[in-house]
């Protein structure tokens, strides 16, 4: 090795436009093979899980192995229904954005199981610190669709008074924190919230979601450090959808084996989970929630999934990844997989599924009509103009009062 020599290294993604994607190199462990430790086990017992894959639904859509959460058909159908709604809602909102009804939109297509199963496996009073791609969480928590739409079209009924870009929801009543455009900030915030719950002797916990790319931010590492130090009752989710706008996950991952593996170095229990498997996400979240509630501290969960559509309405993914990459994704489509599982159990069928899609489409269409009756960004009515001076402080000082006069309102 005498001619060994350091060379400047920049990773490249496995496939770029024009390549035929082949994901066989991923070598994903089979569903049902992962062992399920006790929820209060040492983080060391999660070492294999952090580099493996917790999966429940096998290739025949049967639930297998230790992690099967054994959910009732009612719960499964509820999850399916939230996921179908999320997908239809996203489709519709994208179309409306294209028609100029809102300034911007971000879909969660292909990742619906992440937020829906995660939310359903927690208590509705547990605090959620999502990113901009967990709209399914709001549906699972029962957020009114008209209210969600009114926010996205920034109209007079927008509960955020038109101050935020679309999809940056906030819903205190539903225990959903205000979503930031600044990546990663919510991760340590969730740790702090969880510490406060422990401080107050409550059995509530907190959970947060960030993307694969965002793990490169200091806030990811700060959150894990503090969560470990204070044994915070928190679930820290990394949604690895393979892409951060145009950057492949390997730009943030480096030579680490998985994002979950990064948690081990902090002494935090860490799981990598099939992010398109409703049952596996549910089970892993349940495990982490129990661990948190019983004093075992934090869990880092990497949800291995795929961003099936564009990053947002501002980019064209065919410029940086092969078209149809999602069709080759080895973990399939989360909605299709849960649907087939229910059908296999005799608890669902194609006709009911079609009916569900129709019902949800009708709901979304009807809700949008109602939302639009409260105005749209371009045609108004919006929140009153003077409201831009509200909420900067509890009470506006002389500067804001004077500036409001200067604006002539």
């Amino acid at each position: 090795m005498s001619d060994a020599q350091s060379r400047f290294h920049v990773p490249t993604p496995p496939f770029r436009p024009g390549d035929a994607p082949d994901f066989s190199y991923l070598n994903l462990p089979k569903a049902g093979t992962a062992k399920r430790p006790d929820a209060l086990a040492s983080w060391r017992e999660t070492s294999d899980l952090a580099v493996g894959l917790v999966g429940v639904l096998d290739h025949n859509h049967q639930a297998v192995g230790d992690w099967d959460p054994r959910l009732s058909p009612e719960i499964l159908r509820e999850g399916l229904s939230h996921m179908v709604l999320t997908r239809i809602y996203d489709e519709r909102m994208l179309k409306l954005q294209r028609q100029g009804k809102m300034s911007f939109y971000m879909k969660s297509t292909g990742e619906e199981a992440v937020s829906v199963a995660g939310a359903m496996a927690m208590r509705p009073t547990d605090m959620a610190f999502p990113s901009y791609r967990q709209q399914g969480l709001l549906f699972a928590r029962g957020r009114d669709i008209v209210d969600m739409m009114c926010h996205c079209i920034s109209n007079s009924r927008d509960n955020l008074k038109g101050r935020q870009l679309p999809v940056h929801y906030a819903w205190a009543e539903g225990h959903v924190f205000t979503i930031s455009g600044n990546l990663g900030t919510q991760f340590p915030q969730a740790v702090g919230y969880a510490m406060a719950c422990a401080y107050k002797g409550e059995d509530r916990i907190a959970a947060s979601w960030i993307g694969d790319g965002t793990t490169a931010e200091g806030d990811f590492h700060g959150a894990l450090t503090l969560a470990s130090t204070y044994r915070a009752p928190v679930i820290l989710n990394v949604v690895n959808n393979q892409w951060a706008i145009s950057s492949h996950q390997n730009i943030a991952l480096g030579d680490a084996p998985t994002f979950a593996a990064k948690g081990l170095g902090y002494g935090v229990a860490s799981l990598r989970v099939d992010g398109n498997d409703f049952l596996a996400i549910y089970a892993a979240t349940q495990w982490a929630a129990e661990r948190a509630r019983k004093g075992g501290g934090a869990t880092l969960i990497e949800l291995f999934t795929y961003r099936a559509d564009a990053h947002s309405t501002s980019d064209d993914p065919s410029k940086y990844r092969p078209k149809g990459e999602f069709d080759s994704w080895p973990l399939g489509d989360p909605i299709e997989r849960l649907k087939q599982h229910l059908i296999g159990k005799g608890e669902w069928d194609e006709a009911r599924h079609e009916k569900l899609e129709e019902t949800m489409t009708a709901l979304v269409v009807k809700s949008y009509k109602e939302a639009e009756s409260h105005g749209t960004l371009h045609d108004g009515p919006l929140a009153p103009t003077e409201s831009i001076f509200e909420d900067v402080y509890a009470r506006p000082d002389w500067r804001l009062r004077r500036q409001r006069q200067d604006l002539g309102i």
């Binding site: 935020q164 940056h168 931010e217 806030d219 145009s246 730009i251 831009i388």
Partner: protein, 340 residues
Amino acid sequence: MPAMNIIQALNSAMDVLLDADPDVVIFGEDAGYFGGVFKATDGLQAKYGLDRVFDAPINEAAIAAIAAMAVGMAARGLKPIAEIQFADYIFPAIDQIVSEMSRIRYRSAGQFTSGCVVRSPWGGGIRGGQTHSMSPEAFFTHVPGLQVVVPSNPYDAKGLLIASIESGDPVIFFEPKRIYNGPFDGVPDKPLSSWARHPKGEVPEERYTVELGKAEIVRPGEACTVIAYGTLVHVAEAAAEHAGIDAEIIDLKTLVPYDIETIAASVNKTGRVVVAQEAPRTSGFAAELAAQIQEECFYALEAPVFRLTGWDTPYPHAHEWAYFPTRDRFIRALKTVTEA
């Protein structure tokens, strides 16, 4: 000379720099293969290779990533140009920029330097909401050791960027994204005009510089002086034109070091001043200009210096145009100082 928009002019500047000097490297989130979310680095990776133009992890802060990586690289003799995807996302890097990048030369008594450029799309007017609209220049003008540049047109964008990397000291280079594709006269929702029809839209292909620290009088006049930078230069011109006020408009271009000679000469002539910024009012850069003018030109002033600014609120999304210093607000400002 080819017509270019600001993005093309920046791309051309980086092309020239990469071509001339193997020590120039360019990186940022999505800046490599994709060419940046605004396409400023489009085609450069394909032309110069993966090790000259590359994607960075989403970490504006740490040594391993953008701003700080620029410090480490500059210490080893490279000339890095780092892109922060939006100026609103520069804050994770503030420690590296403020405590490190700005002071490397000073604290090592000149043994080490940190010459680099941090480029970042800046300013509002694109319905970007509070995290894609900010104008955080004042945070950086307050830091000794940093130079701060804001071009207002394609010609200057290219010349200032080349001058910045050649200056040998760190430069925070803010790009008014509202006018990337054409000048904006501050009338919301009017169709965009093109740089092709603007004299500063003509950009030489080759290397040239526009001197740092030099302002330019873009409209000579007698009635009052307007000092602006970035997008608001064009709004000021439109306002003077529309209201028929003979304002002398100064495009500042470099905020640190700012061109006090050009400013003082104009103010001593007109005695009336509007200083404009899109950022919130309190402790903004306009306050620095107003204070300096007051010290230098007090006896020439015929009216109080007028600060035209954004409000002391976060940048609103739906009510963007109630926040932005539009042409109408500019006209009111011009009338206030000229009628006082």
